[in-house]
Amino acid sequence: MKVVLENLTKKFPGRGKTSPGVTAVDNVSFEIPDGKLVGLLGPSGCGKSTTLNMICGLEAPTDGKIFFGEDEVTKLSPELRGVGMVFQNYALYPHLTVEENIRFPLENLKKEKKLSKAQMKEKVLEVARLVQTEELLDRKPAELSGGQQQRVAIARALVKMPKVLLLDEPLSNLDARLRIQTREEIRRIQRETGITTVFVTHDQEEALSISDMIVVLNNGAVQQMAEPQMVYDAPANLFVAKFLGTPQINMFEGRVAEGKLYIGDEAVMAADGAKDGDVLVGVRPEGFVLDENGGLAVELNSVEVLGRDISIVAKHKAFVGSSLRVIVDSENLSMIGNGQVRFRLKPAKVYLFDKTTEERIRL
């Protein structure tokens, strides 16, 4: 089932007369294709949870519409929407066993949907097998590891076979290894069930690795929606370029004149199609190539050899930010002397941004 958000807005009233209130979600529109996993990515407080809660029905939008398939669900209460939700801290009922937890949603079914005990048991077993927790059914949540609790929470959300599965930072309580393992698990479960899924995270790596599509949010507004690689390779604006990628993208003050891009006083590459004037230039750390005749000269600060790569920390007078970081192949170690190094730039890794709107200038 595809999910469509149309001009969704959520304003929270401020406390008291003087405080203005917050616009947590600001005119958000996007469409989640049927059966896809979409990652909602953004910094803390950008409105991810609020968006998810509105899709789920826990939070009523101030404005805008939500569609599941062709049906508008904006005013529908959560239980009528057929969604499954996994909460950030799982919210497993501590006094119930794993089995009772997973069965809980089934016991709420009324009238013609009502299941017999045996049917419930069968469904619980089926979904427990899917998330590989059959052997844990008799335990209480407190007796489970973080990853196991997480899987039980997913099982509980899945047991009614929801049309849409919503996950709010489901991995944030797990350690690094378990995170990777569990996110692959989530990916597998999503593929097997084919349920349209929205996955909220503030971790770019997480979003990039498991999503079919990524929606980048900032200050409640959509910055870009694209496939994971596209968000990285073709950021729509300065925020997206800065938010994705570690180490962070390097920003320079630049200038376009007569079809050439200048950083400092030197022309570094062609910039056909851009208007003359000042711009912001973003260069990914891997966008530099050592070249004696390259246009960009930097002062070396330090060189770290990291096995496969070399990480160079350098200085440039047009650089904006704290440290200019370049990553090159370690084969090039011999070419790096002391003092000054010259680089050529890979055009695909260089992005120009308008100084005032911070929108990307397409070349």
Partner: protein
């Protein structure tokens, strides 16, 4: 760990000494008194030892009356006050507006002086030359003849006593329960909402289990408190409780020690031990039940 054991005991010493002197010693003493027959407090002598004191107390109609009163009081007020407190706290936590105001109002009796409370009850129930009391006034609106709640029939007096007791213990229970309700993580309710759980099922399957430790705490302390009731009865019916048929076990013990017919520490001790056994039994039963039903 083992090596430092004596240190642990050292830290506990003040508490152990204190409890020993002021709790264990008197308890043992009372236990011994209760078996000393014909104890004379001025000469500190007695004839012999045995069960006579217990037999006397158990055959004393005043004690039987006190026992009956206490049990009625306990069985009515503990469940009633806990249930009422639960309902009121649920109501309080489901409203947003004026919540603090209501909370304060419900808490007022707790910080109000006993004498003031007594005065309120006088106004409510006392029959004087000028008025039959507020309660009778309300009853008269329904065409019911005035009842003397303070010196009238037994059931009317018992009603007032129970009413008073519930009213006095309610604020504390409401306070404890509202904070217990507030501490239940909101995510559980959200999860239940998404799953389409009906409100009553949410209450029975989520809220109640989550606050069950608090509820059982209130029930157990409520039982113990109600078994020890005395001052409430005095506040309402004066010190001559035996005549008013409103005595409680603790009242009986007090009367045996200091009352008009006082000066019988052996009988008082026997009654005290009987009360102790009753409270102990009930508390054990409570704890056993709570093991089964309380989720931590």
């Amino acid at each position: 760990m083992k090596k430092n054991n004596w240190k642990g005991w050292l830290y506990l010493l003040p508490a152990i000494l204190f409890l020993g002197v002021f709790m264990v010693y008197p308890l043992v003493d009372v236990f011994i008194y209760s078996f000393e027959e014909g104890y004379n407090s001025s000469s500190q002598t007695f004839w012999g030892t045995g069960w006579y004191n217990y037999l006397y107390v158990l055959h004393d109609p005043y004690f039987i009356q006190a026992l009956k009163n206490t049990f009625i009081l306990v069985l009515i007020t503990v469940p009633l006050s806990t249930l009422l407190a639960l309902l009121i706290s649920l109501g309080l936590s489901s409203i947003k507006k004026l919540r603090n105001m209501f909370q304060t109002i419900y808490f007022l009796p707790y910080v109000t002086n006993t004498l003031a409370v007594g005065l309120v009850f006088m106004i409510l129930f006392q029959t004087t030359e000028y008025t039959d009391g507020m309660f009778n006034f309300v009853l008269s609106l329904f065409g019911i003849a005035p009842i003397d709640f303070i010196e009238g029939p037994y059931w009317a007096k018992m009603f007032v006593l129970c009413f008073y007791t519930v009213w006095v213990v309610l604020p504390f229970k409401i306070l404890i329960l509202t904070s217990a309700l507030a501490s239940v993580n909101k995510n559980y309710y959200n999860a239940a909402l998404v799953d389409g759980t009906r409100p009553f099922r949410v209450f029975r399957k989520i809220t109640l289990p989550m606050i069950s430790p608090t509820v059982f705490y209130l029930i157990i302390t409520g039982f113990i408190g109600a078994f020890k009731a005395y001052s409430d009865a005095v506040a309402l019916f004066g010190t001559n409780l035996n005549v008013a048929e409103m005595n409680t076990i603790v009242g009986y013990i007090y009367d045996m020690l200091y009352g008009d017919g006082g000066g019988y520490p052996s009988y008082a001790s026997a009654a005290a031990i009987i009360l102790f056994v009753i409270v102990l039994t009930i508390t054990c039963i409570n704890l056993l039940i709570s093991k089964k039903h309380v989720h931590y």
